[in-house]
Amino acid sequence: MNWGVIIPLLIFLVIVLLVGIWANRKMDGSTSFISDYFIGSREFGGLVLAMTMVATYGSASSFLGGPGAAYSIGLGWVLLAMTQVATGYFVLLILGKKFAIVTRRYNAVTLIDFLKERYQSKPVVLLSALSIILFLFAAMAAQWVGGAYLIQTLTGISYTSALFIFTISVLIYVTIGGFRAVAITDTIQGVVMFFGTLILLIAVIIAGGGLSNIFSDLVAENPNLVTPYGQDGQLSSLYVSSFWILVGVGVVALPQVAVRAMSYRDSKSMHRALIIGTVVVGFIMLNMHLIGVFSRPVLPGIEVADQVIPLVALDVLPPLLAGIVLAAPLAAMMSTVDSLLLLVSSSVVKDVYINFMKPRASNKHVKKVSMGVTAIIGIVAFILAINPPELLIFLNLFAFGGLEAAFIWPIVLGLYWKFANKYGAIASMVTGIGAYIGIHFYNEAFGNLLGVHTVTIPVFLSLIVFVIISVLFKQEAYEFPTKPLKKVQK
């Protein structure tokens, strides 16, 4: 066991747990448990908002899978990763103030609350709750696997015990602390990622003998590594560009990101978050993926892509520093898992249980159910992760794309097009998910349809279907209520 590495990681875990306990204490003073637990009473300022968005979004795929891919593919993959800079400003500008105002009027604490009030339709609620639970659960399990692998690589303990440690630490602070704990730990984790990637990048460049040395090594090995086209020339410009939809603008439709766009205090917080978010997401993505590329001459011959970051950190940094840096991917995973866990739990509790089964539940009852459900979902994910599926990045992207295809138009058109109606929304969600799954299997078998990423076609199809069906079943133009809806929750 390498205690120099383990001690910083342990300290990090302890801090995260303390935040959970602090958030739990703070919750006792609040009047509405559900708004506090699932959305932190909409009180976040700019820094926390930006960090929680970046950290939720930057997951195991960007921290282990992404640099791993950059290691084998080269600069082309860094170019692809930089499409994510858009997430820093696009989500907040598009959902922006309108979403903030409207969700306050609706008393919405989840994305589905918003859809429910906007479309007044049970099928919309059920369909969206189902897709959130299904897809995000898959994403969560993938992160669980990533977290356990990382702890296993770093400490040398068995996969199952690593999984156990990961589960326990995440479950405790999310279950007791709710959204506030998640957002605050996200902020700490975001800071860890920011500086962790910077330190590691510098160390790798030094170990490689400077930038020009590294690039001439890369060119000597395979000139394709420094082109935008990938080591075999396999990345077409069209394919890479289609990632603007998957990881750039489409992120607007991810429920775990959208819910954050209703959690901030005022316009000032949002404005600050725009700047901080863009800087942080761009900086982290650029550094992390460059580390992947630069590791190739420094540490050639790594077989398992996900291990590039841990191995190179242990190689180029002194143990204590490596431990601090490696807290970054662990932080990335925890901050994604915690948000997904809370979101799946909110779908089960708020959107299904309270909506359909027990609309007049008391504050105390809701508290018990929320915490119980959160814990149970986490434990189920733990059990599923014991026999993990192979490709981490794959599962994660599947969940990403599926949710984007389902939600992007019901959210965006629901906000900005007054003739958007429930028929359009239902048709669009069914089309989006159906087409995504269909095209996914087609692409698996025959190569990418039209040469673009799986998500592209379903997003356009669901737009067309949404508009046509909404116009066919034309109703009155929808106007948002002019005053807050009466509060029914206790």
Binding site: A86, I101, R105, D266, G282
Partner: protein, 95 residues
């Protein structure tokens, strides 16, 4: 009478305008990124020029492109975006 101020909530006009700005920024971002990456990166790797150690296409597309976006966003936030309250007037609530 309850319809009186439905249509002219000026905050929604602000929001709509800012959503459009978001689209314009993203479009600009994509063009910059694509133009430099594939405009300068399509030639043979032996003919690449290097700036500060990086291949020129990558330097302009990803590094300068990122810095330019950050500057644009700071400008937009400071000079274009408007601060509006999110809460509705409480007096409306009294029936």
């Amino acid at each position: 009478m309850k319809n009186r101020n439905i249509r002219n909530d000026s905050r929604f006009n602000v929001a709509n305008r800012e959503a459009l700005i978001g689209c314009v920024l993203a479009a600009f971002n994509i063009l910059w990124w694509y133009g430099f990456a594939y405009g300068m990166g399509s030639k043979a790797p032996e003919e690449y020029t290097y700036i500060l150690g990086f291949p020129a296409w990558f330097f302009y597309s990803c590094i300068v492109g990122f810095v330019v976006m950050v500057i644009l966003i700071i400008i937009v936030v400071k000079f274009v975006l408007k601060e509006v309250p999110f809460e509705d007037e409480e007096e409306v609530d009294s029936l």
